[in-house]
């Protein structure tokens, strides 16, 4: 099982499942981070504490803990 946080810079993946709960899950969904969405990892802060991803046309900043709750697959 691959998590979004494990992806490298520049990698494109498809979202399989969200492990986030309740409000955080709603939040991710409202940002377009939902099943079937294509995500690209744009930038990573030192030690991958925070990452910048692209969903559709939007750029999102995610902390490592949150990015670890998103299961993805390579495309």
């Amino acid at each position: 099982m691959k998590k979004l946080i494990e992806c490298d810079r520049g990698e494109q993946v498809r979202v399989l499942k969200l492990y986030a709960k309740d409000e955080l899950k709603q939040r991710l969904i409202s940002f377009g981070l939902m099943k079937e969405a294509i995500v690209e990892v744009l930038e990573q802060a030192p030690a991958k504490q925070t990452i910048e991803v692209k969903v559709g046309k939007m750029r999102l900043a995610l902390r490592a803990q949150e990015a670890a709750l998103i299961e993805v697959e390579a495309i």
Binding site: L18, A20, E23, L24, K25, Q26, R27, L28, I29, S30, F31, G32, M34, K35, E36, L42, E43, Q44, A45, P46, A47, Q49, T50, E52, K54, V55, G56, K57, M58, R59, L60, A61, L62, R63, Q65, E66
Partner: protein
């Protein structure tokens, strides 16, 4: 239902402006009316609803600018404001503002709005930008597909604004039309089932049955509450349970909200595929992504940010110092000229030593303030603000803060009041309170004059800019350390997730920056002309009264006894300073002096600090009045900077700066703090917290500096 329209309000249209964050809602209002709402390029500029009124074609429009919301959730306080407003308040039409350059994501909220039975109009904003990016949207076709009017507009070029208002008028007069939001077959089947059931029982409802059905399927609390006490509930409940099961099965999810989000997304994808044409091929990396690879670079990102901040303070001092000389000279001239026309000694002193030197001392720093405000406006409008939040989140997180805390904190460099308000973007109450408590550590614009004054008095002009930078950065560092302490003691708890949109970089519009800076500067000047002038008069009165006749006659005799002009002058100065000491203000100062002696403050500094509780500008104006009265007024050396460097020792000055950096913000900010924190007890915590830290650190600073100097 028969309702006669009241003539007074029949021509009134109330419009709710809704959209996702940072799509230009406030800017749209500004271009529709002549309002001047604050706009920026990050999520969460508008944190509370604002109403703007204007007239058009004989109608009175009230437009309510609601805080941006990504979805109908209560994730943050500002989203709650929007959600509550839309569900509970009375309004006629919703204008849903969407970002044309990111249609798919924006329509996610639109889909939710369409399930409410309200009149909706979609404003396809930023159409000029979309055009530049080669995006073409067929608005007519889109209107047809969704069943609500879609109008292309641009808040920047004002294109389509009039059409939009015309459409609102038309929509207002028309009957409600059902939007054509369709779901996947399994969901539609369930909706049909519920509608059939409601219809069978002739259920009474303001909203359409379809609406009620969708809300029931989405687990909408309010709809449930309404139906729960209805006898049909007993039969309806099993139907709903079945329906939810089917939908969840179809979406392979145990979360009906997620299922609906997916439904909306697929509806939106369909719409976008039909109406949107990407004419030019998009480059592999957009400009924003290219800039990001430099500005949020893992290694260079933070040094670049620090460099920007350093440059800002360097500029603040260097460039700000140029006009200062002239302003100083102007107020000196004004004092002499006005003073010469007033016969009465007391009134002359009130005007010259009180009002003119007090107000002059504050106005002197307008150039510095302008530069600082320009810097903050640039940070807000370019999109860099969110990048810094990204860069600092890792670091902030270690200290128990949230990356997004950076936004209220940086706003705090301008003024604490909007900073306290913008802390609402933080979802978690503990994080928000924590941020509220440390906003004061970010020195606001009103404290800048004190720093500039002291830096100028004790350091060479080349160093003063660096000193300013050091003061601001150490204030910020102290704040972060204080946050850690608070997080470990008072605000223990789980961390809030960090999920934030990174807006597109935008070239700041000159007009916008000019406007923001002008408004803030005018506010500063207005304060100088009213509040500060009043405070200066009060300080003047307190420092001139009561008159001590014995002292005056005593000195008059002494002055008469000596012959040389020099000796006469010395005696006159002594009289002035003795008079000041026995004035009301002197008494207050002397009374509190023992408290401040360990920090090396004389009574004048003690008084200035206490006056600063009202507003930080008063510190400078008070010093201005006190030193204008007490010091020898010889030509060429009547500037406040000179008086400060002559009368205050370096260690005392350092301790003074430390107290100014940390102690309680001004009265107005304290009121806002209390309101935002949600209780007067928080104000007392803040008072105790800041006073203890300010006093102990100033004590340490004073004694350490004494060793070195």
């Amino acid at each position: 239902m028969e309702e006669k329209s009241c003539p007074a309000i029949s021509n009134h249209i109330k419009v709710a402006l809704v959209g996702q964050p940072n799509v230009g809602k406030s800017m749209l209002i500004n271009s529709v009316s002549n309002a001047h709402l604050h706009v920026g390029n990050f999520s969460g500029v508008t944190v509370d609803k604002t109403e703007v009124l204007f007239d058009y074609k004989g109608y009175n429009f009230t437009v309510v600018d609601l805080p941006g919301t990504y979805a109908f959730t209560d994730y943050t306080i500002e989203e709650r404001v929007t959600h509550d407003y839309l569900c509970a308040e009375e309004y006629d039409v919703i204008i849903n503002v969407v970002d044309s350059t990111n249609l798919t994501k924006n329509l996610q909220l639109t889909a939710e709005l369409l399930t409410m039975s309200k009149k909706v109009i979609i404003a396809l904003n930023m159409s000029d930008e979309a055009q530049k990016e080669g995006i073409e949207i067929n608005a007519e076709y889109m209107s047809e597909l969704i069943g609500v009017p879609c109008v292309k507009v641009s808040a920047v070029t004002k294109e389509g604004i009039e059409t939009l208002i015309d459409r609102v008028l038309k929509k207002h007069q028309e009957e409600k039309v059902k939007p054509k939001l369709v779901f996947s077959e399994p969901v539609e089947e369930e909706i049909a089932q519920i509608i059939w059931y409601l219809d069978k029982h002739r259920f009474q409802s303001e909203n359409s049955y379809r609406n009620v059905a969708i809300n029931l399927l989405k687990n909408n609390k309010k709809t449930y509450e309404k139906l729960h006490d209805n006898p049909i509930w007993i039969e309806l409940q099993p139907i709903l349970i079945e329906a939810a099961k089917h939908i969840e099965l179809h979406h392979d999810s145990d979360d009906v909200k997620e299922a609906f989000a997916e439904e909306y997304a697929s509806f939106n994808r369909g719409i976008v595929a039909e109406v949107l044409k990407q004419k030019t091929k998009q480059e592999k990396k957009t400009v924003t992504e290219k800039i990001d690879s430099i500005l949020i670079h893992p290694i260079f990102g933070i040094p670049i940010f620090l460099f920007f901040m350093w440059s800002l303070f360097q500029l603040t001092f260097e460039v700000g110092a140029i006009p200062m000389e002239y302003i100083d000279a102007f107020f000196g001239w004004l004092g002499n000229t006005v003073g010469a026309t007033i016969g009465n000694d007391d009134i002359r002193s009130l005007v010259v030593d009180g009002v003119i030197s007090g107000v002059g001392a504050v106005v002197l720093f307008v150039p510095n303030i302008i530069i600082l405000f320009i810097g903050i406006a640039l940070l807000e409008s370019t999109g860099y603000m969110s990048r810094v939040a990204f860069l600092l989140d890792g670091f902030f997180h270690k200290f128990g803060l949230h990356g997004q805390s950076f936004i209220p904190l940086v706003t705090g460099f301008g003024c604490s009041i909007p900073a306290y308000m913008s802390a609402r973007i933080l979802k978690n109450d503990r994080d928000r309170l924590l941020t509220l408590f440390i906003i004061g550590f970010m020195s606001c614009g009103a404290r800048l004059p004190v720093y500039v004054l002291f830096a100028g008095a004790f350091f060479s002009p080349e160093m003063a800019g660096n000193i300013l930078f050091v003061i601001y950065i150490s204030g910020a560092m102290l704040g972060i350390i204080a946050a850690k302490v608070l997080k470990m003691t008072a605000f223990k708890g789980v961390d809030e997730p960090f999920v934030m949109e990174m807006p597109k970089y935008r070239l700041p519009s000159l007009k916008l920056i000019w406007h923001t800076v002008l408004t803030k500067t005018m506010m500063y000047l207005q304060k100088a002309g009213t509040f500060i002038a009043g405070a200066s008069m009060l300080i003047w009165f307190l420092s001139n009264y009561p008159h001590n006749l014995t002292l005056e006659t005593e000195y008059a005799q002494k002055i008469a006894a000596v012959s040389s002009v020099q000796e006469k002058q010395i005696l006159k100065n002594q009289l002035a300073s003795d008079m000041l000491e026995q004035s009301y203000l002197g008494t207050i100062g002397k009374f509190s002096e023992p408290l401040f002696t360990p920090l090396g403050f004389d009574w004048k500094m003690s008084v200035a600090l206490q006056a600063g509780l009202a507003a930080k500008e008063v510190v400078v104006s008070t010093l201005g009045v006190l030193y204008a009265l007490g010091s020898d007024v010889t030509e060429g050396d009547n500037s406040l900077v000179g008086a400060i460097s002559k009368n205050i020792s370096f260690p005392s000055a350092v301790a003074f700066i430390v107290v100014i950096m940390i102690y309680l913000p001004c009265l107005a900010a304290s009121v806002v703090f209390t309101r935002e924190a949600g209780g007067i007890h928080y104000f007392f915590y803040l008072l105790a917290f800041t006073s203890v830290i300010a006093y102990s650190l100033a004590f340490i600073a004073y004694n350490v500096t004494k060793i070195f100097v």
